[in-house]
Symmetry: C2
Subunit: 637 residues, 2 copies
């Protein structure tokens, strides 16, 4: 970036980078190496080889080390590690996913599900990339419903071994990154049994390839073949035919097998034990959320630069052609998406901060863990859905040129597509979010009459919201702030927040009431929940919308540079109003917008688009994507 | 399809196939040949070679011949030719596009812009595939604004030749199918000048490769390289360095150069001449619209079959896992999209019928041509946007398996992406639609006061709508039919139609008023139109929504089999209500839905989804996609 750069870029970039800006800058510097420059037209085999080469290069940087304890060669700063993943996502997304498998999922499982002997034996090799591994959870027949997976790990006291077995092909471990080519060791999730007793899903370390790269005896490896994108990742299937591993291959932090074959666990309930194990892996979801935001930033950087350069149609009565971004329709495509990308970027900082707190300061705080998991699920859904939508919009906004591989949007689009599916399918995660929001009063359902439940739910939801947004202390003022008339008062930030928080509360209230009523009516439980499924999804997204705007509003307030703050405040307005506009039907249905005010929201979004149009370039510059990674001819400065 | 097939499949399929069902069945039979079976993992070079091989095979069928006059070896049934393209789109979309370039664009331009000597010289070779060609309109610097393209064709009286020239690289012909490898002759659109006078854009036949495949002297050919999809099409750039062609290379139906070098044309106005030429090429847009519907049908066939087979999560208190399609969220993803696909499929039949009428019965009816062009533009936007959205939804509904190339959705997704851009970018086409709707009273603007304009506009719009839907005679009853209260009366078909037609009229009224006011205020014309750009887009989609529902309603009425009609009538309800639900904010804002009724629409959509779920399979079977083309492992019966 040259000396002519707008003075707001630096402070905005610092704000968007957050507390881990130094880690991010370190990774940016790494990615300037030509090894990481975008490449096209490679065969799948060439892509896989290149991705491995890049992974090995990354292993030499601090990136992976941040995620692991000092005792094993790590630097013990997980938030910096997540920040590193996020910046990595400005480059090759196959690399991002492959390193996420290696250091996040595989390494993370060994670290958090294993105990000291596993750490001593494996972590150093995992960090420096000499031991490549797999995270073998998903099965062909069971993707989202992990608890029902069917691979078995049976303790054999005769040999003091675990026997890992795939009962049939639908229980194959599938879509497993690093499986088709490069992985040597796999964390295999399987139904554990000892002494004829079932203990639910546990993780076992199983060697899958020898040093020469040949499958180990009893291990069948299939290649998942070509995919819509991410073809630099060697996804494959793993099947085990009574494969024997020593007893201590069990990652036994949450369930141990004693010398005499007795099973024990600090957590008695099988289901709770399983979800506790899963919970420790929340880091993967946090990383994907951040990566989705980064990929969206790349696409917007390309589309905004193109929208400023590219001119089409002559002004009536003039010779000058009009830059695309001067057209309202084009502004409408890109600028609200740009605003929401900023919103999600700031909300992601809050998520990473929460992760860091749980991993370091509050590892035993179950409530903090639950909040983190809920926020991570909510954010993963919001960021990945936004990425798919926005990158597609950017492609269309760049016309035929956007369809050419050389302009980068094709790969961004294809590679991020599956983000909505892996690390928890979005629809499933949204239900998880909604159910968690409902959980805290579920236990009391039996003891309250219907009206009592409503009051109870309302109290608890309000409490949960206050807990979250206490710093801004806005809740007390919600009632005053909700727009109710058609006066000309422009929406201020607190009113925008009040609207979204009120919706979250109202949707949750209604959902709890509806489920309660269904259960009381004696209807089949599946039918009750299934009928309310769209309501559950709405509850989750209402929650997320409020979370994200809160984070954005707080972040704007914290920007010190006046010009930068003023600009980002407008961006926050655009995000908030575009969110309200998108769901204005709901606000109209629930008496929170009058028809006149609803139309005024649309006018306000149009006006904000026009107002922000001259600043679009400053905003994408503030994303700080190294020029070496934006090679699209249509996006050159 | 076996003997156990549901009795409704055959009559539904006949209805969806329309009058050209025999042509469609003929193409279905062709596509059962193993040559057309889906292939994956090919390099771009292999894909291009395979696509050519398939094109040559198609040239031996009736498909191309239907598009051309009997005098030159054709079969002269353009509607059957479009139907053939539509069925072809069940198979390889690269093939669809490459044959669309060859027979639709290149052949169509020679046929409709050329005269007898061009026909005699070229049509036979075009039909049988021995003369492959290009349609060189788009330039790097000018995509949507074709009228401003900068390639020149200058008449040189000294040699009686035209000199075709590319002034600089931004005037290169770009994204041209058949250019990079296989095309020998190109229809080149260029600014024609004779005797120092400009005559606007005309088409000239320019040889670009000799028989050995080498570029002709003065012709520079570049390869556009890898794309997001459609890599079986050899798109490229063409640049001309003072390339000389004989005078009669000018496709001179709409503009002739006499022996003495004098230019003449049956159409005086340069701009009108240009749009008349473009108008004759409407067939390309009609084909792409149909192909988009077909590709969507493929994706839904795969996703619905998968949704019935695939089970996830056990019922509480049971052992059985639940098929995905039993979940409301899954129904919500797929069934309204399925209903709208049926709607667009029927609306496409009307469009093709209109095209056939204009091409055969009413070639000189300017009004009929204008209506056809408007309908084609509206449909192309609706079908391609629906395809992009729905195929993405299908991919997500098939989870990780949907991301594997072998399950076909990856290619469908990548290949259809650019449909929103080529043959007219969707945003530009929508504005064309809206402007055409406004055109008929534009001339009178100056003579009416503001109130007069409003009345005038309203009258004309109502007239246009009546003209379109006269058969159903519903307009007179609109006022009675518009839902206004919260009574329990279920929406019937006429009420649904009334709602959409009223919106079309209201949006157009408002738009005309707004533009008029803007112009009267003396504001800059660009600013006035640009400020109203989102209003223009809304007017276009409101128009399209009404058109599509009218077509669907008429088609349902025409189904003779009672069971089939009853089922398709429910599908029509779902389409109509999902359309209203999607835009319920607008109806709330404009007093056409009360909050209570708006919520009732959502409930009705949910109920219809549940009601139609058991029939989803019958509906996709009725699309009649040959089993040989649905090879996805997740979609096997």
């Amino acid at each position: 970036m040259g000396s002519g750069e707008d003075g707001r870029v630096a402070p905005l970039r610092r704000a968007l980078d957050g507390p881990w800006w130094e880690a991010r800058d370190q990774v940016r510097a790494t990615l300037r190496d030509p090894l990481f420059a975008p490449r096209y037209g490679l065969t799948a085999d060439e892509q896989r080889a290149l991705t491995l080469e890049r992974l090995v290069a990354l292993a030499k940087t601090d990136g992976p080390a941040w995620l692991f304890p000092r005792a094993y060669g790590g630097l013990e700063d997980p938030a910096a590690g997540i920040a590193a993943f996020e910046v990595q996502a400005f480059s090759d997304l196959s690399l991002l996913v492959k390193s996420g498998v290696q250091w996040g999922l595989f390494g993370g499982a060994v670290l958090r599900l294993g105990t000291a002997r596993h750490h001593q034996q494996h972590l150093a090799g995992i960090i420096d990339g000499t031991l490549l591994g797999c995270f073998a959870m998903t099965e062909t027949g069971h993707g989202s419903d992990v608890q029902s997976l069917r691979t078995t790990a049976t303790y054999d006291p005769a040999t003091d071994e675990l026997v890992v077995h795939t009962p049939d092909d639908t229980a194959a471990k599938d879509y497993i990154g690093n499986a088709a080519l490069h992985g040597r060791l796999a964390v295999v999730f399987a139904q554990l049994s000892t002494q004829g007793e079932q203990h639910g899903v546990h993780a076992v370390l199983v060697p899958i390839r020898d040093d020469a790269g040949r499958p180990c005896p009893g291990v069948r490896i299939e290649d998942d073949g070509l995919k819509a994108g991410l073809n630099g990742v060697d996804n494959g299937r793993l099947l085990f035919d009574h494969v024997r591993v020593p007893r201590d291959a069990l990652l036994d932090r949450f369930g141990q097998i004693a010398d005499d074959g007795t099973y024990s666990s600090p957590i008695d309930d099988v289901s709770r034990r399983f979800f506790t194990m899963l919970g420790t892996l929340v880091q993967g979801r946090v990383s994907i959320s951040g990566a989705a935001v980064s990929a969206t930033k790349c696409a917007l950087t390309i589309a905004v630069r193109h929208g400023e350069r590219r001119r089409q149609f002559t002004l009536p009565g003039g010779d000058d052609e009009v830059p695309l971004l001067d057209y309202r329709a084009h502004q409408r495509l890109l600028l609200p998406a740009l605003a929401t990308t900023c919103a999600l970027s700031f909300a992601q900082l809050v998520l990473v901060q929460e992760l860091a707190t749980v991993l370091t300061a509050a590892p035993d705080d179950a409530d903090a863990r639950r909040r983190l998991e809920t926020r991570a699920a909510a954010m993963k859904v919001a960021t990945t859905a936004h990425a798919v939508r926005t990158i597609q919009t950017c492609r269309e906004a760049c016309g035929g040129a956007g369809y050419l591989a050389v302009n980068q949007l094709a790969a961004l689009r294809a590679d991020t597509d599956v983000f909505a599916t892996f690390e928890g399918a979005n629809t499933v995660l949204q239900q998880l979010v909604a159910k968690t929001l409902l959980t805290r009063y579920q236990a009391e359902f039996g003891e309250l009459d219907a009206r009592g439940t409503v009051r109870f739910v309302a109290d608890h939801v309000v409490e949960a919201v206050i807990e979250r947004s206490g710093a801004r202390g806005i809740l007390q003022r919600i009632a005053d702030l909700l727009p109710s008339g058609d006066d000309d008062h422009p929406f201020d930030r607190d009113r925008q927040l009040a609207l979204l928080v009120w919706r979250e509360k109202h949707v949750l209230d209604g959902l709890a009431r509806r489920l309660r009523k269904g259960v009381e009516s004696g209807r089949d439980a599946f039918a009750v929940v299934n009928d309310a499924q769209d309501h559950l999804l709405l509850a989750a997204s209402a929650h997320t919308d409020a979370l994200v705007l809160e984070a954005f509003a707080d972040a704007v307030d914290a920007i010190e540079d006046d010009d930068a703050r003023a600009l980002m405040s407008k961006v926050c307005d655009l995000h908030a109003l575009a969110t309200v506009e998108r769901d204005r039907a709901w606000f109209l249905e629930h008496g929170r917008l009058t028809p006149a005010r609803s139309k005024a929201v649309t006018v306000a979004v149009n006006d904000l688009c026009a107002e922000l149009r001259p600043h679009a370039r400053v905003l994408v510059d503030a994303f700080g994507i190294p020029d070496e990674l934006i090679t699209a001819p249509i996006a050159q400065r």
